[in-house]
């Protein structure tokens, strides 16, 4: 082959053959891996197709949306999908092949089908939701419930975001004067760094979890776009596992991201989150006031009850002696009545006595005396045996004393061999006063003798 081509000629040949081979427009499914808008308004993309493992790329090509189409396609796509054209999105685009002698091969995008992307995103979301449910973690953060007060907040947001500023304004300037303690853990809230940024922030907060009552994830502006950054398995999973409640205000009206779904409380905007927290505080302060009233009422009831008991006792006490007295009186009256009844009975009996008494009264007296005598006789009957017994007992005692006395009689003593000594007619019990030559008289049972004292010897 001797013919030589210039580079330009070669490029033209390639271009022509491509145009012949790919004459029309094609619908192509691809994933955006890069998007850039330049200053002239053109949009430059890189489209890829990944292998089945969803990691390695098996096809890659440049694509362009000229500014004329881009202005229209951009808003059309965003309105329907709620997403910007961004990396990671799968798109269905209508293209034509273009080959430029300077820039080489590229695809010119003429149209885009947002419905395809919506379907893709929905499928991805559903997949994440199903996975979290299958793992049994979907509602774990919700199950934590909210603490009694939400006062110390770890905030994940980007410092410059309008949403963060709005949130802080609503919180700090709340009309009830509640004090909040906040610390911002910065993270990108859109773009491909969102996932890593939020995971890092949550990781840092978990190191200080005891300091915080809740985590707040907020994103600025109420923009509808870029929601799908929060349809992210890793973010959602970390939220489900977070030890303190997570509140989200990611800023969207139409739909909830998976991160919202798994959060303890999900609200539409950052200001809604701030208002919710203030309302929560207000509700809890009201609860405190209710408890105070409850305590007051209960205490009042108890004190009142005790007072009533005392008062009742006070009322019951004074009449008691009167009641007691009247009971005694009644008893006395009863006894009197019985006596009278008994007397009447006696009178009645008396009136029935035979003998034809002309006057009742002597009969009554007679009956009375008769009854008394009868009663004495009855008593005597009962008493007699008892008296005999008593007398016998007394007699035995006297006999015993008599026997003892008999033993002590002088005759009995003399009989037992004792003698009695007299001097000058007086009994001598000792030898005191006796002197040799004294005459003493000794009495025996059967007679007495006189004798002279020869000598004495006192023992």
């Amino acid at each position: 082959m001797t013919e030589k081509l210039s580079l330009y000629e070669l490029q033209l040949m390639i271009r022509d053959s491509l145009y012949i081979s790919f004459p029309g427009m094609y619908w192509v499914i691809a994933e955006i891996s890069e998007v850039k808008e330049n200053s002239t308004g053109h949009c430059y993309l890189e489209l890829i197709e990944k292998q089945a493992d969803d990691k390695n790329v098996r096809a890659r090509i440049k694509a362009i949306i000229w500014c004329k189409q881009y202005r229209f396609l951009k808003s059309y796509f965003e309105n329907i999908t709620g997403e910007k054209l961004r990396e990671g999105l799968k798109v269905l685009v209508r293209i034509k092949i273009e080959y430029h002698e300077l820039y080489g091969l590229s695809l010119i995008i003429c149209d885009i089908d947002p419905a395809f992307t919506v379907g893709e995103l929905a499928m991805k979301r559903q997949h994440i939701i199903r996975q979290l449910e299958e793992e049994g973690v979907f509602s774990m953060n919700k199950e934590l419930g909210l603490p009694f007060i939400i006062q110390k907040l770890a905030i994940i947001s980007s410092a410059g975001a309008a949403g963060y500023t709005d949130f802080m304004n609503h919180l700090i300037n709340n009309e009830f004067g509640y004090v909040f303690y906040t610390h911002l853990f910065e993270s990108p809230m859109q773009g491909s760094d969102t996932e890593q940024g939020i995971l890092n922030a949550l990781g840092r907060i978990s190191g200080y979890q005891d300091l915080f009552d809740a985590v707040v994830i907020i994103r600025g502006g109420g923009s509808q776009v870029d929601l799908s950054w929060f349809d992210n398995y890793n973010i959602a999973y970390y939220i489900t596992q977070f030890p303190i409640p997570v509140l989200t205000g990611i800023g969207h009206d139409k739909d909830m991201s998976v991160s919202d779904m798994v959060a303890c409380v999900a609200l539409k905007t950052p200001t809604a989150v701030a208002d919710f927290i203030v309302s929560h505080m207000l509700a809890k302060e009201n609860r405190l006031m209710e408890m105070l009233v409850e305590i007051k009422d209960l205490t009042h009831t108890i004190v009142e009850k005790s007072r009533n008991r005392l008062e009742t006792a006070g009322i019951r006490l004074p009449p008691l002696p009167r009641i007691l007295l009247s009971a005694v009186k009644e008893q006395l009256a009863e006894i009197s009545m019985r006596l009278i009844r008994s007397g009447n009975e006696q009178l009645r009996i008396a009136s029935l006595l035979p003998g034809g008494q002309t006057s009742r009264l002597p009969g009554v007296i007679k009956t009375f005396l008769l009854s008394r005598r009868t009663s004495l006789e009855l008593s005597a009957k009962i008493l007699a045996p008892e008296s005999v017994k008593l007398l016998q007992k007394r007699k035995s005692e006297l006999d015993f004393f008599q026997k003892n006395l008999d033993l002590l009689m002088p005759e009995n003593v003399l009989r037992r061999g004792y003698t009695i000594t007299y001097m000058n007619g007086h009994v001598k019990k000792t030898i005191d006063g006796l002197a040799p030559g004294n005459i003493i008289e000794t009495r025996f049972i059967d007679g007495k003798i006189s004798s002279r004292v020869m000598e004495d010897e006192k023992e």
Partner: protein, 65 residues
Amino acid sequence: MNKKEFSFKEAVSRIEEIIKNIESGDLDIDKLSDEVKTATELIRQCQKKLKTTEDEINSIFRDLS
């Protein structure tokens, strides 16, 4: 050593316990006054906590890396 941080949760639990005790009627009237005093003081502290800034907490939050 920092003083033990006031715990809202514990305070509320204690208040609820006191209310329950009073409600049950088991509470000795001699202890009523002390318990009511404790509960109202805890409520006062809780209310104060909602609306008063604590420098200690502020400084902890400032120092967070």
